[in-house]
């Protein structure tokens, strides 16, 4: 169904003298809001008299012989929502009525049978719909987007889950929450997105950097969470989801309530809480893997076709325990952990969360507004503020026991303006400007040298996008974007490191003060980034569609890549950033083929992504400290190729049975060293069979099989380390990927009518049915313990 909203601009053009009773008229002219052209054959219904009329070739209509009083006039036109006008008629009344006629067709590609829209025309984009989000209410964003083929996750345990799009993650993946670019210290692998998926009505995953309106640095892709669109009518509805999980003895509850008014005002809110204790691998408990998270959001505003505004606030606080066996002191501890088949710490189940752990809170607040101008388009403005506060607690001793080892507060202010010009028929032009100010505060009270330094950052972005329907079959888009990034940091370097890096020669001009063992510096960098995205979509016929997209984008190094300098306890390695790193540049070509008929649909997304000066971290040797020798990992750059194919296939056998198969493969190569790229997802196959029967209370069931191959293409970064306690040299096998694994999952749900207008959905799911022991290459805790075993979830969802 077309999502059309009508609006009436009330311009009183004139009036006639007061007539006698029942001699009054209501008349008007109905015009296209965009180009002023008359709209022919709109239906005008007078409810009071139950009479109909239609607009003529000039868009005019007249209703005659009306008495004084109030009237309700309903105007409708093909494929658009019906709009009602109330008129208190005291004298003849004439209006020019502007109808929104076709803008949404160009504005976005519509998904059949839904009002959710896609963000790009020619990009490789997939939508995750609300039922998947609802069915996985307790899950993390990173787990939900894995429903899209070609999207994986890089994990630190089960709760720290970062999305990986076509092999790329962290700073290369942009996350938008209700129009706000999430700024949550996304540089680190152990920094998960601070977002509660329950706030989203749909999640759009765009592979590659084609969503230029949001940023030019999303070399991997973008994940766009959109809340439910506001319906302009009087409604009040709510939803409560409660779930229980056997593994970790967890539960979650999430409740939302929305009130909309026909006048256009709206108000809604959402509250959620979830927690779990220690998770369990098939053979042992994963000690200290409990987590707790609460979240809330509030949205209110006014929406009409012509203008609207919105205020939105969202808060989430998560406390996440890190597997205690993964916290190690030196390379010998790492060797002992890798060589031990079971974790070196194994205790009974506990609900408490001890160090090491993270406690991260994120506040997002935004205010936005828009206006539409007839025969022009839509102008929007937005201001948003985000505050991300991250504490990380290590196992510490003495007076520092309860003191965080990391205390970082990142605050971001953004403003943006966006203009959409839609009067040009087959062309839709979108341009805008955005500005951002960011302040990172690293608290010195931790007593641990700062991982990320204090900095301020300014960004300015300009973009322009044009979309065009060349013909019924051919659509194209072309976008460009320029971003200026300016970062101004204060960083203390260890004097010995400063010299060892050769910074004393190359960067002597940024030294402010030498305070003995440390040197205070003021690195200031400015980056200019240009991005282009262009493509064509060719709809050969109803069944076959081809898409071709090219995008150029670049990303400046993040604070971690520039400034890291110190020991990472969880990985037992020294990580070093590099002030000399420049931006990385991606040239990506995506070619897609889509086939769709009544029983069968197929999507093939292929891509070639060449990234020049791709920034990654690799080992360069070992250094002796008085805790033993540590491998040194340094951020460096290489030219890289990422080539892959993602497929999705749906087959509807009959009303009851359907099948889905997803498969993805990626080839990542480090060209400078002629080695495979590290941390690339291995081949995976995900197939499901679905059964549904409406006669059994909307019964749905699905059996899902996941095969993950062993990653045979990996760089061998193993090294030998001296183990003091045995006086021998031993191999530290940090590279060899774990073996392939197979998992089976089952899910079933039924929906019942309860109370008067409510529906209750009861869902049961078994993950890892056979309690298979496995380890995943992209889980950083794979050295220490198996992944989680069987989990049974029971979830109740009440819609009211």
């Amino acid at each position: 169904m077309k999502h059309c909203v009508f609006i009436i601009a009330v311009f009183l053009l004139g009036f006639t003298a007061v007539g006698q009773d029942c001699q009054l008229t209501i008349s008007g002219k109905i015009q296209d809001f965009h180009n002023g052209e008359p709209i022919v054959n709109a239906t005008i219904y007078n409810k009071n008299t139950e009479t109909y009329t239609t607009s003529d070739l000039e868009g005019n209509f007249v209703i005659e012989n009306l008495c004084k009083g109030s009237y309700q006039i309903t105007i409708s036109h093909i494929s658009c929502e019906t709009k009602v006008i109330e008129i208190d008629l005291q004298k003849d009344y004439r209006n020019t009525i502007y109808l929104e006629h076709h803008v949404e067709e160009l504005d976005a590609v519509h998904v059949e049978g839904s009002t959710i829209t896609k963000q790009t025309v020619t990009g490789q984009e997939t939508l995750v719909k609300k039922d998947i989000i609802d069915n996985n209410s307790a899950a993390n964003l990173g787990d939900i987007v894995k429903h899209v083929t070609g999207v994986n996750s890089i994990n630190t345990g089960n709760e720290i889950v970062k999305p990986v799009i076509n092999g790329l993650h962290s700073s290369r993946v942009l996350i938008m929450n209700n129009g706000v670019r999430l700024e949550n210290q996304e540089w680190g692998i152990e920094h998960a997105p601070n977002i509660d998926v329950n706030v989203a009505n749909s999640i759009s995953v765009i592979k590659g950097s084609s969503a230029l309106a949001y940023g030019s640095d999303a070399i991997g892709g973008a994940i766009i969470l959109e809340p439910k669109s506001v319906a302009v009518k009087d409604t009040l509805f709510g939803k409560t989801i409660a779930g229980f999980q056997t593994n970790g003895r967890g539960f979650n509850i999430n409740s939302s309530l929305a009130k909309n008014y026909a006048s256009g005002w709206f108000l809604n809110g959402n509250l959620g809480y979830k927690q779990n204790g220690d998770l369990k691998a098939p053979d042992y408990y994963l000690n200290n893997t409990g987590s707790k998270s609460y979240s809330g959001s509030f949205q209110s505003g006014y929406k009409s076709f012509e203008k609207g505004f919105e205020v939105y606030a969202n808060y989430i606080d998560s406390e996440i325990g890190i597997l205690s066996a993964s916290h190690i002191g030196n390379t010998a501890d790492l060797v002992a952990a890798i060589n031990s088949p079971v974790p070196l710490i194994s205790e009974p189940f506990s609900n408490s969360i001890e160090s090491p752990k993270q406690d991260v809170s994120h506040l997002l607040a935004k205010a936005s507004g828009y206006m539409r101008f007839k025969s022009f388009g839509k102008v929007s403005f937005q201001y948003d503020y985000q505050s991300n506060h991250r504490y990380e607690y290590d196992k510490r001793v003495g007076a520092d026991r309860d003191k965080p080892a990391v205390d970082l507060k990142l605050q971001t202010h953004s403003v943006k303006g966006d203009v959409q010009v839609d009067k040009l028929g087959n062309y839709l032009i979108n341009f805008g400007v955005s500005g951002r100010y960011q302040d990172n505060f690293a608290n010195a009270d931790t007593g641990v040298r700062r991982l990320i330094p204090d900095y301020t950052k300014y960004d300015l972005g300009l973009y322009g996008i044009i979309k065009s329907n060349f013909s019924d079959k051919l659509t194209g888009d072309l976008g460009f974007r320029y971003d200026l990034n300016h970062i101004d940091a204060y960083k203390y370097y260890r004097e010995s490191r400063w010299i060892e890096r050769g910074y004393d020669e190359d960067f002597s001009d940024i030294v402010i003060e030498d305070i003995g063992t440390q040197i205070l510096t003021n690195p200031v960098f400015t980056y200019h980034n240009f991005a282009i995205s262009t493509g064509l979509m060719f709809e050969l016929n109803d069944n076959n569609t081809f898409k071709l997209n090219y995008s150029l984008s670049s990303r400046p190094p993040n604070p971690s890549e520039l400034f890291s300098e110190g020991l990472h306890h969880s990985a037992a390695r020294i990580e070093l950033g590099d002030l000399r790193l420049g931006k990385e540049t991606s040239n990506r070509v995506g070619l897609s083929y889509l086939f769709d008929n009544d029983t069968f649909s197929l999507t093939l997304d292929s891509y070639f992504n060449r990234i020049n000066d791709f920034i990654f971290i690799k080992p360069i040797g070992t250094e002796d400290t008085n805790r033993g020798a540590f491998p040194v990992w340094e951020y460096t750059k290489t030219d890289a190729n990422l080539i892959g194919l993602d497929t999705n296939l749906d087959y509807y056998l009959n009303k009851a049975f359907s099948f889905n198969v997803k498969a993805s493969y990626i080839y990542g190569q480090n060209l400078d060293e002629d080695l495979p790229l590290i941390d690339m997802p291995s081949f995976r196959l995900n197939s499901s069979v679905f059964y549904s029967n409406d006669n059994w209370n909307g019964f749905n069931a699905s059996l899902n099989y996941v095969f993950v191959a062993e990653q045979s293409r990996y760089p061998d970064y193993n090294f030998e380390a001296f183990i003091a306690s045995t006086g021998t040299y031993e191999l530290v096998d940090i590279s060899t990927p774990p073996p392939a694994y197979n998992l089976f999952n089952f899910q079933a749900d039924m929906t019942f009518d309860v109370f008067k207008k409510s529906k209750l959905t009861v869902l049961a799911r078994i993950d890892n049915i056979f309690n298979t022991s496995y380890r995943e290459y992209l889980n950083r805790l794979r050295y220490f313990a198996d992944d989680t075993g069987r989990n049974i979830t029971v979830q109740l969802q009440l819609n009211y």
């Binding site: 505004f309 010998a332 001793v397 010195a444 060892e500 020294i574 033993g628």
Partner: protein, 194 residues
Amino acid sequence: MKSILKLFTLLLVSNFIVSCSNDDDNSIPPPVNEEEVITTMTLTFTPVGGGTVVELKTQDLDGDGPDAPVVTISGSFQSDTTYNGTVEFLNELEDPAEDITEEVAEESLEHQVFFTVTGGLGTMTYNDTDADGNPIGLDISFQTVSTGTPINGSIIVTLRHESNKNASGVSDGDITNAGGETDIEETFAPITVE
């Protein structure tokens, strides 16, 4: 509508106030002096009945920086002699130096110093215990072997916290099953007994 607009403005303004009132000044941040780092470990062995004190010391003033620790061995041990040993941990990045030994003693239930003697130089025994009766390792005895000719070996010293002190062999000084996190570890070699 007006009241909503007021609210909207209030929200905007309050955001700016909140965000400008803390942390936003562009003053230079203070340096961090690492608090619980052990830069220096000193083992002092005093022969029972008199003789030359042997001191084993490792000092790494740049912590996990690129400079390797400086290891000094003051001299050789005498054959067939009992030495009383003490272990001291310091953080010399602070001024005056912080004595970490006290913290280890206070939290003795979670700490243990392990000694591995190679080359058949002698036997190390614990003289101190925590509240559970398990060894700590700050007060030790070293009995050297009886030898006619000088022999060389090494002494490896490891401080662990959060280790499992009740695991098999741990109370006898065997580090194999101890687990936990290494705070400091040094191999002193060559150690000579003559």
